[in-house]
């Protein structure tokens, strides 16, 4: 049974905007990055999985539950961190997270205990007894994560968890997400428009654009090697290009880097020998990986 399975999922908003377009995907447990530009349909996708939004057509199941008909049962095992603000400023984090645990079905005593534990886990200590209106963005994001975790869900759906955070805050939030996914055995879907962030924590990537699925694959296959060899030399890049071209190999200079098209193993030895013959100051030889950004170009 897959963690999440959708079939031809489509969402059209009144007014003709198509947020999701015939999206079919099957995902196994792990840390899944949901990546796409703003407005690509990430939030819509997550909200449909939670049953917050009705799809126009198509089906979706999460943890084996149909999101349309078994929403209430399903939501007991799902945690959701929305992108938007959702914290009442005059309530303390302890009270708020404890209440949220109760609405997830935890008895009162267990709710209090879990709230304290999960707030400590996300790194909120004495502050948790203060009203949340005075919190920094970083602390608010932590409380938002805590309320999603408080009922020990099987699946966490995080919508732009690093929004508004400074670089240090981003690192900490991403580390928390990674720990949640790897150590606690909770499956995570994390939506972000920042590829650089998402590739640091995810093991599977789902790329969407304009509501359509571009690709769903393990992270490694997104960054597999390309047929380009990059040779950095401190000087004489043009001499190297001339020598390689004379030997019948396609090569172009890009500043101090020479990019060589790789069709077989032949260029490796030839580059080494040519650089040695010309006596060029070599910095490195590297096989280029495909960057995630290329997905959206």
């Amino acid at each position: 049974m897959p963690l999440i399975a959708t079939k031809s999922l489509t969402k059209r908003y009144p007014g003709g905007v198509t947020a999701l377009d015939d999206l079919s995907v099957e995902l196994e447990p792990g840390i899944i990055g949901l990546v796409g530009a703003n407005g690509a349909g990430k939030s819509t996708f997550i909200r449909i999985l939670l049953g917050l939004l009705e799809p126009t057509s198509g089906t979706a199941s999460v943890l084996g539950y149909d999101v349309r008909t078994q929403g209430s049962a399903l939501r007991r095992y799902v945690g959701y961190m929305p992108e938007s603000d959702c914290l009442p400023p005059d309530t303390t984090a302890t009270d708020f997270v404890g209440q949220m645990a109760r609405w997830s079905g935890l008895p009162r005593a267990a709710a209090r205990e879990r709230a304290a534990e999960v707030l400590r886990h996300v790194g909120l200590y004495e502050e948790r007894y203060r009203p949340m209106g005075a919190y920094s963005t970083g602390m608010k994001q932590r409380v938002k994560l805590a309320q999603a975790l408080v009922h020990d869900p099987r699946l966490l759906l995080l919508d732009e968890p690093t929004n508004g955070l400074d670089p240090a805050g981003r690192d900490e939030m991403l580390a928390l997400v990674k720990r949640t996914g790897t150590e606690f055995g909770i499956a995570v879907v994390v939506a972000s428009h920042l590829l650089g962030e998402i590739e640091r924590v995810c093991d599977h990537l789902v790329a969407v654009d304009a509501g359509r699925l571009i690709r769903s694959a393990p992270l490694t296959s997104f960054t597999e090697r390309t047929g380009t060899l990059a040779v950095d030399v401190e000087e004489g890049a043009d001499k190297l290009v001339a020598a390689l071209t004379a030997a019948g190999i396609e090569a172009v200079a890009d500043g101090r880097t020479v990019l060589i098209h790789l069709e077989d193993e032949r260029p490796y030895d030839l580059v080494r020998d040519t650089v040695a013959d010309l006596g060029l100051p070599l910095v490195r030889i590297e096989q280029r990986r495909r960057g995630l950004e290329e997905l959206f170009q």
Partner: protein, 311 residues
Amino acid sequence: MTAPAAPGPVGGAATGSIYDLGYRGYDGPRSGRHVVVRALLRQSLQEAYGIGRGGRAKVAPFLLLIFNAVPAMLAVGISAFLNQAGGSEVLEQGIPIRHDTYWSLTSTFVMLFCAAQAPELFGRDQRYGVLPLYFSRVLTRVDYALARVGGLFIAIFIVALLPHLILTIGAVLGAPDPVAGLQDELPEIPSYLAMTLIGSAVFAGVSSVVASYTPRRAYAVAGIIALFIVPPIVIGIIAALSVPDIAKVLLLASPSDVVDGVNGAIYGPLRIGNETFQIATLPGWVYVVTALAYVAGSLAIVLRRYLTVTV
């Protein structure tokens, strides 16, 4: 905050970092919808009185609860005094604070309670964006709406019922013969229970409608007050300008007048001192049916709001 240390084993050496405690799952019971709805109902009732929030949140609801009960306390006190002075029979007729007059005398406090507290229950969650967190949990949208309306209703019912209980207790304890006093008082109980139930339900219903559609607190407060005091004024003007018979029917469009009509249907004309006021000019059942229609209609509108609101 410092960067998290490398996580150790569960219960590992205490290095001062909380991360070493490790994450523990939850294997305890998880209640279903019905338990959660009851919990939210109780929470809503508490929030209606500012319980669980700062001291300032409690000021308005408790002041209004007390203000609404002050006349009953005074009446009981005066009766007790007169009983001791031996002039009870004569002067009791002069005290207009009785079960049958209570709603009409003090419903302004009940209305103010609605205006002050309904926005707390309905507006906050919308204003601060908390609805997605509720709706992504066990409750359905209908559950949430019913729990909120129910909590407000019970809160208002307590405000409305408290003075009647004070009057009853005062009458029983203040009577020369408490058993006879209780016997005199018993027939009153079903009447004021019915009156306060219907009145509270109508007031809770219409204020829920305004508050659920108006996340901004100030607008909701103004809207609720307006809904109770503007229709009688407008209808009064219409009555003055045209046929009074039309105005009688038009009064059904005013929630506060409908509840006063229910009071008339239960107790008959309002009697204060030597004067009587005929409030219910239509047959009594018309007011009761209209009141129930207000309750049902309000519930339908509130449910519609929460079924369609985008979160």
